[in-house]
């Protein structure tokens, strides 16, 4: 059994006033950044590589490696930028929001370390437009850090200028995609760019830019507090540290939890410290493991560890840690329709397969859910999904960015793993779950 005994990221969240600078500093805040700034930038990058820190935004890309793609200053003399992705909007994911609300200075301390390592003098934090309260906490934290002389002309007293700005989005899921985020930061609509060139070479304003998730950067002070080796040992395999996951759907105790990399999905759903099981008499039917774009898992696949690479054999992904549980009385067609509708709504309209395909799949799913579907429709549905992004494996999409894949993967995995639900709708000419498609806790009281 592996319940995390000691919290790492969430360690201080319960402390009163943790989101103020004075309390944060009282408990050793910004000491790690000071320590890190005594190293040279290449030494910092080496430490981060050694810690096996991986991006927490969805792809799980090794952070130190990403940083090392930034060309050296004599090869490319343009300014460098750090962009923090706080545009958390993958359905099922609610973790970055809580870092901003509960421990904003942890993120800012991480930014100080990262910018110094990357020789970046400007950092933009792109936060989600809907985050009114988290953004106000962060704004206050940034202002306090400036007033205290942490940011500004002399970063923590060192001869290094660092300016940190928060930019708020305005309600577009696509802006969580890193190149769309950069477009949005440049004041444009969020249309993803073709890659390569990658942002590390040509990013914001055409300059080398690193885009990192909030949780990733917030882990840096911990790495320099207890050492890269310690952080790496905390994890499992090639994934260092711990993870924040959001458990939602039909469980007794939904919420945001910190788990060890070797915690299993089953433990997360059933342990008292975490989800505490499903309502009495209900069992798991399906679990989305990493935000709604991750291919769905069945009840037989819950022994998977919550580490990044563990999902590969299941043709799914750890994604952004949004775990959604559905019980045995939930209608899979209705669930998939909700997911497909989201991607249809949020497609930016740039690539044809996604712009046309996502709404098409949504219409077909609605047709099937309402009992008007045929087996031919089901075939068309999978054909359309296959045309947007063949699966398995993940990553073969036919669109500029991964939103095409994100919409197609759930459709393919739901239809493949829960085909009976779909065929029942077609043969009965109605939804077998009647007016209660949402499972044990789906009623509004």
């Amino acid at each position: 059994m592996s319940v995390l005994t000691e919290k790492v990221m969430m360690r201080d969240w319960a402390r009163a006033g943790q989101n103020t600078l004075s309390v944060y500093k009282q408990h050793g805040g910004y000491a790690q950044a000071k320590k890190a700034l005594e190293l040279s930038p290449p030494q910092i990058i080496d430490e981060v590589k050694k810690s096996q820190l991986r991006g927490r935004g969805g792809a799980g890309f090794p952070t130190g490696l990403k940083w090392s793609f930034v060309p050296s200053i004599d090869k490319n003399p343009k300014p460098r930028y750090l962009a923090i992705n706080a545009d958390e909007s993958e359905p099922g994911t609610a973790k970055d929001r809580f870092i901003l609300e509960n421990d904003p200075h942890l993120l800012l301390e991480g930014i100080a370390i990262a910018c110094y390592a990357l020789n970046a003098h400007t950092c933009y934090i792109y936060s989600r437009g809907e985050f009114k309260y988290p953004s106000s906490v962060l704004d206050k934290a940034i202002a306090d850090a400036y007033a205290d002389g942490i940011f500004g002309k002399k970063l923590l007293g060192k001869d290094f200028e660092l300016n940190v700005y928060q930019v708020r989005g305005a309600g577009a899921y696509i802006c969580g995609e890193e190149t769309a985020l950069l477009e949005s930061l440049e004041g444009k609509k969020g249309w993803p760019r073709l890659k390569p060139p990658f942002p590390a070479v040509v990013g914001l304003f055409g300059c080398p830019t690193v885009v990192n998730n909030v949780e990733t950067i917030a882990a840096l002070p911990r790495i320099f507090e207890k050492g890269a080796q310690w952080f790496s040992d905390l994890g499992l395999g090639k994934s260092g540290g711990t993870r924040l996951v959001t458990l939602s759907g039909t469980v007794n105790q939904p919420g945001t939890y910190e788990v060890a990399m070797n915690t299993t999905m089953k433990e997360l759903i059933f342990e008292k410290e975490y989800g505490n099981g499903l309502p009495e008499g209900r069992s798991v039917k399906a679990v989305i493991p990493g935000g709604s774009s991750a291919p769905v898992l069945t009840a037989d696949e819950l022994d998977v560890k919550l580490e990044f690479d563990a999902f590969k054999p299941l043709q799914s992904m750890a994604g952004s840690g949004g775990i959604i549980v559905m019980d045995d009385t939930t209608c899979m067609v209705r669930c998939l329709w909700r997911v497909a509708r989201f991607y249809a709504e949020e497609s930016c309209g740039q690539c044809t397969p996604c712009r046309e395909g996502q709404p098409w799949m949504t219409r077909l799913l609605r047709k099937i859910e309402e009992g008007r579907g045929t087996e031919e429709d089901l075939e068309t549905l999978t054909n359309v999904a296959q045309a947007i992004a063949p699966w398995p494996p993940i990553g073969l999409g036919n669109t500029i960015c991964a939103l095409g894949d994100a919409g197609a993967l759930p459709v393919q995995s739901f239809v493949q793993k829960f085909k009976k639900d779909f065929l029942d709708h077609i043969s009965l000419k109605r939804c077998p779950y009647g007016d209660k498609p949402w499972g044990a806790l789906g009623e509004f009281r």
């Binding site: 609610a94 929001r97 305005a170 309600g171 004041g187 444009k188 939602s248």
Partner: protein, 202 residues
């Protein structure tokens, strides 16, 4: 230097090379003549103190970006305008475009791409209900029909007082169901709690 590396966004500048938007000294070559004079009705848009807030706000925002990248401040500038006026009136869009050295069309291109910008006046209260999967599994569809009934509005429509619409995941998955009233977040909703929130709206 290109203002953007994407062909279809380059704009004819009158300079010898149509792709050059910024001269060697870093000054914008592209400043449409029509917009360099303030519009006659601009005084009607803002009160004196609003105008001051707007001008000061924009100047602050522009200081966050490289001097040759004024249009990068588009999102925060539109947000500022919307905070002052409750929506994005055409006259305000002109002022934003002018201050950011870009065109009104580009300002609208951005404004209409993002759902949180209102290019027509919304009701006094915009209610965004999350109906995505995590919330739906905790009763979001019921929440929406409860609100529809209570407000006498179909989702996606507005009257003078309310604008009720479905929105996508609001990062409240562990605390579902949720909605936002004018961006104020409310979670773990029940019928009793919704009644309470609506009563408080003046």
């Amino acid at each position: 230097m290109y203002a953007t590396n994407r062909g279809w966004e380059r704009t004819w500048t009158g300079a010898a090379d149509p792709t050059v938007l910024i001269d060697a000294a870093g000054a914008d070559l592209y400043e449409p003549a029509a917009m360099s004079e303030p519009h006659a009705s601009s005084e009607a848009l803002f009160t004196a103190s609003e105008q001051q807030q707007f001008d000061k706000g924009i100047a602050e925002l522009l200081s966050h970006y490289p001097p040759d990248r004024k249009s990068a401040a588009m999102l925060p500038a539109l947000r500022l305008l919307q905070t002052l006026k409750g929506w994005l009136p055409p006259e305000g869009m002109k002022q934003v475009a002018q201050k950011l050295h870009t065109t009104v069309e580009k300002a609208y291109e951005v404004a209409t791409f993002y759902v949180m910008f209102h290019t027509s006046p919304p009701g006094k209260y915009t209610i965004d209900v999350c109906t995505n999967l995590s919330c739906a599994l905790r009763g979001a569809e019921g929440l929406l029909s409860y609100l529809e009934e209570k407000l006498g509005l179909r989702a996606g429509t507005k009257n003078e007082r309310y604008f009720l619409r479905e929105t996508e995941c609001l990062a409240s998955c562990g605390t579902a169901p949720c909605f936002q009233v004018n961006e104020d977040h409310h979670e773990n909703l029940t019928k009793a709690k919704v009644d309470q929130i609506l009563e408080k709206l003046a």
